[in-house]
């Protein structure tokens, strides 16, 4: 018994070491730096300063990421839903081939493309003007919060759709077909039958997307101006302009708290699911 226990510990040691060195240590270090008081000792001065200077940016970040997550959910449900229940084979296979492309484009490249695509006299508006839908003086630049959201959704929706389509494909087709035979429309079938069954997958995809979007620096930096801006930009500015790690870490801790809240929601949800299954 004790031998197998040692062996088990040995087996888990590399993973444990890796996690502690690359995750636990930096996390503890950054929290410690965030609560260090400039005058010495422990205090919340860094957080006070973070709120004083960046309260607007904190709200802005929550706003951007929340809207982007919601839209990512909608778009990915539409894509995955059509892939599962579409009835035009060439459309389904075309979409299946096309929708994954953004997965292979890094954020920074996406941001660079959006910079010329969404500008006032950019490709999108020029196309609309040339097709006669808009007058040149009616066009507006989308290089602000809207640009960030468009880039995030463009980048994350395929990721969630990939997970979701996988989840939907694994469902028992009989349920769907039974509902269809009884006369339910495809939309109703999607919303009332399919979605509840794949909700856990959707949740995981959205939470991962939320965390990823919260951590992206290149997109807010390149797509939109800096007032207001997202927390990642403020963190980098705090370090680069002032060499001020404590306040940067305080902002970091604030973003951990945002992700912690979503993680908590997820865990609660997962736990309830498990209990329901066990019961």
């Amino acid at each position: 018994m004790s031998e197998s226990r040692t062996a088990g510990l040995l087996l888990v040691a590399p993973a444990l070491l890796l996690v502690s060195a690359l995750f636990a240590y930096p996390l503890v270090f950054s929290v410690a730096s965030a609560v260090s008081d400039p005058a010495g000792g422990v205090g919340l001065a860094n957080f006070a300063k973070a709120f004083q200077l960046y309260s607007g940016d904190i709200l802005y970040t929550v706003f951007i990421v929340a809207i982007s997550t919601a839209l990512t959910g909608l778009v990915s449900i539409a894509i995955a839903g059509y892939l599962t229940m579409g009835e035009t084979p060439w459309l389904v296979s075309g979409l299946a081939w096309l929708y994954r492309w953004p997965l292979f484009i890094p954020f920074i490249v996406a941001a660079q493309c959006m910079r010329t695509f969404l500008a006032k006299n950019g490709m999108l508006n020029n196309t609309l003007v040339m097709s006669g839908l808009f007058d040149p003086d009616q066009t507006v630049s989308l290089l602000d919060w809207r640009g960030i959201i468009v880039t995030f959704v463009w980048k994350q929706a395929p990721f969630v759709a990939l997970l979701l389509a996988g989840g939907m494909a694994a469902l028992d087709r009989a349920t769907i077909e039974a509902a269809r035979n009884l006369g339910a429309s495809r939309l109703r079938c999607l919303i009332e039958i399919v979605l509840p069954l794949v909700a856990p997958t959707l949740m995981v995809g959205l939470i991962l997307s939320f965390v990823i979007m919260l951590s992206v620096l290149s997109v807010p930096l390149m797509v939109a101006g800096s007032q207001p801006t997202m927390l990642t930009v403020d963190i980098s500015f705090r370090i680069n302009a002032y060499g001020d790690y404590p306040v940067a870490n305080a902002l970091g801790v604030i973003s951990y708290l945002m992700t912690a809240i979503t993680a908590w929601i997820y865990l609660r949800y997962a736990l309830r699911e498990r209990q329901e299954k066990a019961a």
């Binding site: 607007g56 940016d57 500008a119 006032k120 370090i239 302009a241 002032y242």
Partner: protein, 378 residues
């Protein structure tokens, strides 16, 4: 026996390597044009005169952020007690130079090289209030100014006060990049504080008094109102992009980037520059050699070449449109008239001398940035 053979073989191979079988590591902070300058122009030129030497150039990113990265790398090597550091030549901004000199991260090399004597501007000794004499050689000087498109607007404001009125009549026709997207926006904001505070001289020369900033609330509130009528662009290049597409008519830019973009056809040739009163800041970039650079000698030779009149004329002025780092009188005869005149098409040497200002000393600089974050951006 075998060990000895291997050892001696190794020793011979090391000794036999040509004197220049070396790699010179150059780290450059700043926009892409600075990295291009070292990689495409200066590096190959140095390799030509020093056979066997390979110049490896890395860019560490635009703005003070790039310099901060270089500082952190060297500071880490110093505190780790490393005997030789792996950067040989660094190109850094003013703000970090004083700190690096004070923390003994830099070698005092200026008087060891011939071109050290050719430098005349005060910035070679004084970096935002910090004494850096001997530690740095100015690579070039650059200047910010307002770029404008005369096809869109004819009446260009001549001063900060005029500009504040102008944006009310021309909403969303002026754009700048705030303070988090590069130095042209920082320069614009600094110029605003110079213009309306009346503290410009003290901010530039010191001494620092923490109480000075207490009187800035009014001018920052005015800047916040000003911002309601302008567009905040994404970065130095973002301002130029929007000028190019005609989305804004006026915006602060770096003079060198302006001319370079125009030469590359990325700005309409009709665009012009104006240096508004009471003035806008500019800055040098510095060549420095880390205190424990592995190839210190070679590094000095590299900087000597980079600051020689020939290279300053051909590389700095003609190809990259910067103002020279060394005294302009040493460039006579090295440069054709047209290339020199092009630098001063829109901004005359007198205007540059009168309205080209340095950035403030570091504590005031930080005050400007942080108060902007507190009172204007948030």
């Amino acid at each position: 026996m075998y060990t000895r053979i291997i050892m001696s073989a190794l020793a011979t191979s090391l000794l036999a390597a040509p004197a220049g079988g070396q790699t010179l590591n150059v780290a450059t902070a700043g926009d892409q044009n600075m990295v291009d300058y070292v990689r495409d122009y200066l590096g190959p030129l140095f390799e030509k005169t020093h056979r066997g030497v390979r110049v490896v150039s890395v860019g560490t990113g635009p703005g003070d952020a790039g310099s901060q990265k270089i500082y952190e790398k060297l500071a880490a090597q110093k505190s780790a007690g490393t005997t030789t550091w792996d950067l040989d030549v660094i190109v850094i901004h003013q703000k970090i130079a004083g700190q690096m000199a004070a923390e003994q991260l830099l070698a005092k090399y200026k008087d060891d090289i011939d071109t050290g004597k050719l430098v005349s501007r005060e910035t070679a000794a004084n970096a935002l209030g910090a004494d850096v004499s001997g530690y740095v050689m100015p690579m070039f000087h650059s200047q910010t100014a307002l770029a404008y498109n005369p096809d869109i607007t004819k009446d260009i404001p001549g001063s900060y006060a005029d500009l504040a009125e102008w944006v009310k009549k021309n909403p969303r026709k002026f754009g700048y990049n705030g303070i988090k997207g590069g130095m042209s926006g920082v320069a614009f904001v600094t110029g605003w504080v110079y213009a309306f505070s009346g503290n410009a001289e003290q901010m530039i020369k010191g001494p620092y008094e923490a109480a000075t900033k207490a009187a800035w609330d009014g001018l920052l509130g005015k800047l916040k109102d000003f911002n309601k009528n302008v567009i905040i662009t994404p970065g130095n290049a973002g301002t130029l992009d929007m000028l190019n597409r005609g989305e804004i008519a006026v915006g602060p830019v770096w003079v060198d980037m302006f001319y370079t973009w125009m030469a590359e056809g990325k700005l309409p040739p009709s665009m012009k520059l104006k240096l508004i009163t009471p003035g806008m800041p500019g800055q040098p970039m510095y060549y420095a050699v880390p205190a424990k650079a592995a190839n210190a000698r070679l590094a000095e030779a590299f900087v000597a070449l980079a600051t020689s009149p020939e290279v300053q004329a051909e590389g700095i002025i003609k190809r990259f449109n910067w103002y020279p780092g060394i005294d302009a009188k040493y460039l006579e005869g090295k440069l054709d008239r047209a290339a020199w005149d092009k630098l001063f098409t829109d901004i005359s040497p007198d205007e540059l001398a009168g309205k080209g200002q340095p950035f403030p000393i570091t504590p005031y600089f930080n005050d400007v940035l942080e108060l902007y974050e507190k009172k204007v951006a948030n």
